[in-house]
């Protein structure tokens, strides 16, 4: 990781990048992925270590980091928005969702 980098995207499939320093709302951020670089206008201020969207997401879409699913968008998310607990929810360990899904099961738990 280069000290000049403001943000880091880990895998090509990712929908978010990680801020490597505090980034201000309205600023244009250069996001690096391997040898590529693209620019994103931030719609929110992003704290060190927090994430922002690099692609638009619809409510219900998978959110990806490390090339893997880290959760689901709980509302539509625009490019440059802060991506965190206010607009993403986890899909695993959701005992609170038991019985509320269409098929009556939660992930990893077989139907009674």
């Amino acid at each position: 990781m280069d000290s000049r980098k403001q943000a880091l995207m880990l895998k090509a499939a990712d929908s978010v990048a990680v801020a490597l320093r505090k980034l201000e709302k309205g600023s244009v951020v250069s996001v690096f992925f391997q040898e590529r670089m693209f620019q994103i206008v931030l719609k929110d201020s992003i704290e060190f270590g927090h994430k922002f969207a690099v692609v638009p997401m619809r409510k219900g879409d998978d959110v990806r980091k490390y090339g893997e699913v880290i959760g689901m968008a709980s509302r539509d998310i625009a490019v440059g928005e802060h991506v965190h607990v206010h607009n993403v929810e986890g899909k695993r360990g959701r005992g609170d969702k038991i019985g509320r899904r269409e098929n009556g099961t939660a992930h990893g738990l077989s139907a009674p």
């Binding site: 990781m1 280069d2 000290s3 000049r4 980098k5 880091l8 880990l10 990680v18 801020a19 490597l20 704290e47 060190f48 270590g49 927090h50 994430k51 959110v63 980091k65 490390y66 893997e68 699913v69 880290i70 959760g71 991506v83 965190h84 607990v85 993403v88 929810e89 986890g90 899909k91 695993r92 360990g93 959701r94 005992g95 609170d96 969702k97 038991i98 939660a106 992930h107 990893g108 738990l109």
Partner: protein, 391 residues
Amino acid sequence: MAAEKMEPLMGYRRPDGQIGIRNHVLILPTITCATQTAQRITELVDGTVTFIHQHGCAQVGVDYEQTFRTYVGLGKNPNVYGVVVLGLGCETHQARSVAGELKKAGKPVEVVSIQDYGGTLSAIAEGAKIAAQMVQDASAQQRVPFRFDELIIGTECGGSDACSGLSANPAVGAVSDKIVDLGGTAILAETTELIGAEHLLAQRAADDQVAKRVYEVIQAMENRAFQMGVDIRTGNPSPGNMKGGLTTLEEKSLGAAAKAGSRPLQQLVNYAERPTKKGLVWMDTPGHDIEQLTGMVAGGAQLVLFTTGRGTPTGSPIAPVLKIATNTAIFERMRENIDINAGTIIEGTETVEEVGQRIIDEIVLTCLGKKTKSEILRQHDFGLWRIGPTF
């Protein structure tokens, strides 16, 4: 670097053939009622360690067995020279039963029971006399050379932030790979914090049975949240994790899994169970920092690597814990607790491999006797994964 080319480490050879990097006399209270007495003995006798807990009575079945296995595992840890097992007398976890198992390891073991000796003061006096002799005998033992293939290193992350998966955890992963390549054992733990990353580890399982166990322990852990009818996120990721930028358990898990490096997963062991295979081994533990630490030490780990983004004082009475900061800010702020800074990876001044090498160097020094921050501060944490109710 091949094992034969590395400088030998120095440790204490035990009667059962294991090698310790510390030479403690453990005052082991099998019951909560004896923990205060054990504490007094450690105040009187230099070279002794103990821990405070609330277990050892009114426990049954698998919960009894897991607690028993943990006590025995801690006593058998090769960093322990000898054990004074301290009981009250009427508890379910009888001091004599624990001592009986420990004696099989051939190390010095004595039992002191508060009821048998006529009370607290008499038990303290008797326990201290025995411990003092053990400490002197321990101090006469000379260290002998050994190699990395006799090391069991525990790995753990606690107080994680968004840097954990980018800096300190990958660096520990590089160390894990190196230890495995040198013929040693690296333990991956915290099943809760591998939910969402299990497929990546199952793909690396040495055989189908290990892969099957990966999915079994993950499902069992996830089912506990289902049975309670709660979002696991109300407890994990924690508020500090979220402030640090971690949004979901899956995100935390994918970062945590980086500690496991890239080598094949050889075995999946139960909590506090000693691995019978070398290489990368997964121990089924909760994500709770102290409960997993205790489980790994009871499983024979002589040393533990602990990454932290939010900062933590964590330590063990038995195994040195090397703490590794994921970012430079927390390293600077909590230098008194943290041994190594991996934040340089985020800043781009060091690579993952370079930090990994620094951690290896520190492991060597720690094995040779250098004290970790948690040892100096006598951070003697103990936490037990209880799997049944108290009756």
